[in-house]
Symmetry: C2
Subunit: 242 residues, 2 copies
Amino acid sequence: MLRITALCNTVKVSPRKLDPETRATLVDIAARLLAEHGAEALSTRKIAAEAGTSTMAVYTHFGSMSGLVREMVHEGFARLERQFAMVRRTDDPVADMAVLGYAYRQNAKANSHLYAVMFGGQSLAGFSLTEDDRQYGRYTLVTVVECATRCIEAGRFRDGDPLLIAHEMWIATHGLVNLELGGYLIDPVDADRCYDTILTSLLVGVGDDTRSVAASMAASKQRRQHEVEAESAPAEPVATQG
Amino acid sequence: MLRITALCNTVKVSPRKLDPETRATLVDIAARLLAEHGAEALSTRKIAAEAGTSTMAVYTHFGSMSGLVREMVHEGFARLERQFAMVRRTDDPVADMAVLGYAYRQNAKANSHLYAVMFGGQSLAGFSLTEDDRQYGRYTLVTVVECATRCIEAGRFRDGDPLLIAHEMWIATHGLVNLELGGYLIDPVDADRCYDTILTSLLVGVGDDTRSVAASMAASKQRRQHEVEAESAPAEPVATQG
DNA sequence: CATTTTAGCATAACATCGTTATGCTAAGAA
DNA sequence: TTCTTAGCATAACGATGTTATGCTAAAATG
């Protein structure tokens, strides 16, 4: 996970160290540009100008623009994991599941451009995910898998593969978020209504009974505001990983 | 639907008409470049070079690169609609629904880069969907809505809003395709397995009983190869819409 | 058929992009 | 204090989307 540093800190003498603050600043500015003005606004020159340095800084710290994007993607995964960690494990695991889905959705909406690169298959500045990156992404699913396991153990879900159930939840939530961000879900059938409907449908489909699902969904709505950040703080300093 | 032509053919005299063949050729080449080499390879110069013309042709015919992308997107919607039209309406509407989902999935995989622009929220060459474009996209859903209606009328689905049910199917299939194209669905839980699982789960969730769903899913698999093109023919001439 | 009109298209320029070669310089090692 | 060397500024390279400029061919008109 920290193997990028090997590119910079060789075993030999180092006459001048990389400024980790510069590195963090660059990622921070890039993330803000991406979030505020979209993919088209992300350029080495704009980043360098805002950081008060030259475009070369991007190359000494990240190798290329893609390297900087990768850094942002990793930070995005970490942020999603932090969001998941904020969701409590209660004795109503189905409600937990619903809150997790909401957390995923909120995180995606708060970092829509980055999310498009992380999960949407969007290549940004020539960057595309490596298998390692995807594995990082899949790893965030373990929280959901554990939750599915607890749902089965509690007798709410039919006995089955919790990994497969977690994928169902992921796929549905991901599909919803993507179409929501694409502007496809509008008034009579908006995103919130769709989310309720499809989640309910899925939970019933995996074995829970209709009445219990309704109760857990209602409970999850109470918990949302406490356990899920309404919006991911954009001013939050990002991890520098080096 | 044909209002683009108004930009070119003014009411006044026309000393020299636009060559509709050139227009079609440009769209065709652009679509092939996009499909074969991805978004990065789509440039006015490459298109013009392959078409044996200058970059100006793109601007006289489409106004900008975005205009050309819009043309491709519209063609993509039309192609999806044609795929849907090939799915039969049988007395097993739930199987019809499963075949429709498979058609959506196949179409997305055969035109992945274009699909990313149509539904994935990816902005290509500065192009982003207008509300009109999205309405065009939503219109393809009517086939699914009608199918959901037939499922309700046949007593397979609980009584409910067919539009909402269609959205459930759309969201799930879209989510699956997106993660599949992103390379996230691998061996133990691959895309095919996920598709079966989530579709079954959803169909049970909207009211069908487990045994009927299994039968319809099996029936749909028999019909796939006949009613869904395995791969959209890339050499197929595109409609010029003018 | 000759003339006029005018829009398609080629050419070339512009600003901007990612990237890289070059050199200066500051910071750590001796 | 001197030497080493890697960070960073500068400037250039090729490629991008777009636009200004003119040539020219095709339609309209007489």
